[in-house]
Amino acid sequence: MTPVLEAEGLGRRYGRQWALRDCTLALPGGQVIGLVGPNGAGKTTLLSLAVGLLRPTEGEVRVLGRRPRSPGTVAEVGFVAQDKPLYRNLTVAETLRMGAWLNPGWDAPGARDRITRIGLPMDQKVGKLSGGQRSQLALTVALSKRPKLLLLDEPVADLDPIARRDFLRTLMSEVAESGVTVVLSSHLLADVEKTCEFLVLLATSHVQLADDTETLLSQHRMVTGPRADAQSLFSAHTVVQADYAERQATLLVRGRAPINDPMWTVRPVSLEELALAYMSTSLPQEVAA
C-alpha cells in the first residue's frame, strides 16, 4: 500500500533558522496519525509543506503519491489550519454553499447531516459561533469535500474540555464510517493516546519517532533499581532517558531483552511518558545549537 504522505530529506528554512530538517517519513493510509512535539518543533511547517502552502527548501514531499500542489491532490486532501480560517460574515449555510462551489466532489447531504448532528443553526453568522462550534464547522467543511487524507493542525488546542471531547467524537465517528486517513497535530498527549494508532514525534526540527503506537509501547519500559547496577542495562538496551538519585536510577529503556533481576522494578510506559521523554531528551541539542 502506498503511503499517504512521504517525505524524503524534507527541510524548510526561515532565514537562517531551520524549522524542519532531514525529514524522511512514510505515513500509512487508513489510520489516525498523531503528530506531536513541543511548540516550534516543526509540526505546522510539516503540515504546510504537505498541503503545498509552503515550498520545501530542500528535499521532497509527496501526498497520495503526487506533488502537494497538483490539482488531483488538492481535491483529495482536507486541511484545517490552526486558526480555523472561515469567513466571519457568512452564515453557516453560506459557508456550506461556498464549500459546494469550491469543491467538485462536495457532499451536500453529508454536510447538512453533520451540521444537524452538531446542532449548529444554519442562519447563524460564523463570527457569532463559539470556538467549539467554529472548529466543528471547519471540520465539517474539510470532511464534506470527501478527502482521502485529512490534515488537522492543533484542532482542539483552544477548546474547552467539552468542546474538545465533542470535536474528537465527531472526528472518530467519521473515521469509523469512512475510514479517512487523519493526521492530527496536537500537544495534548492524552487525546493523542486515545485517538491515534501511529505516532510521529518532532523535536528540534527533526523526526525523533515515527511508528505505530503499539510497536512503540512494546519496545519501551520504565525500570527502577539500584544505581550501581544501572550500567548492566545499557548493554542490552538503549537508554532513552535516565534519572539518577543518590542510589537509585530510573531509566526509560528501549529494547525487548528480558529484565529478570528482582532488584529492578519494571513497568510498561504510557504513550504520554514516552513522548515526554523523547521531547525532553532532545532539548539539550537545542540549547547547544
Partner: protein, 136 residues
C-alpha cells in the same frame, strides 16, 4: 446493551478495558448469547477513541470464542461465561488471607507484599512467554 466506560487513570490499555467490561458483563449475566454489541461507530461517538481500538477488543473476544462477528449485521454474544465456582473462590481467598497473615508476622508491610506480588506475576508472565517461545 453494554455501556462502555473508560478509566483514563487506570493505565490499562483501552482495548483491554473494553474486553474486560464485556467479560464482566457476561459473568454477571448482563449480556447473554444472541445479544448485539454496539458498533465501533456507536462506541467511538461516545468515548472519542479510535474505532480500531473497539474492533481490536472485539477481535480479542472473538478469538476467545465469546463473540461472533456476522458480516453486515454486527457483533453478537456467542457464549455466556459461567460464573466462577464460589467454593473454589472462597478457598483461594482463605489461602491468600493465611498467606498475608504469615507475611505480616514475618514483618512485611503492605508495600513489601505488593512488590512481591508484582515480582511473582511478572516472573509468571515471563515464564509463560518463554514456554510459548520454546513451543514455537
Amino acid at each position: 446493551m453494554i455501556d462502555f466506560q473508560l478509566d483514563d487513570r487506570s493505565g490499562v490499555a483501552t482495548y483491554l478495558q473494553l474486553a474486560q467490561q464485556v467479560r464482566h458483563a457476561l459473568r454477571l449475566g448482563l449480556l447473554e448469547p444472541g445479544d448485539k454489541l454496539p458498533t465501533a461507530k456507536e462506541v467511538v461517538a461516545k468515548l472519542a477513541i479510535n474505532p480500531n481500538t473497539v474492533l481490536k477488543a472485539y477481535r480479542e473476544l472473538e478469538r476467545e470464542g465469546l463473540l461472533v462477528v456476522r458480516q453486515g449485521s454486527g457483533t453478537f454474544v456467542r457464549t455466556s461465561l459461567a460464573p466462577r465456582d464460589q467454593a473454589e473462590l472462597v478457598e483461594l481467598q482463605q489461602r491468600l488471607t493465611d498467606w498475608v497473615a504469615a507475611a505480616r508476622r514475618a514483618g512485611l508491610i503492605d508495600e513489601d507484599i505488593e512488590a512481591m506480588y508484582r515480582a511473582v506475576m511478572r516472573k509468571d508472565t515471563h515464564d509463560t512467554e518463554e514456554l510459548h517461545d520454546t513451543r514455537a
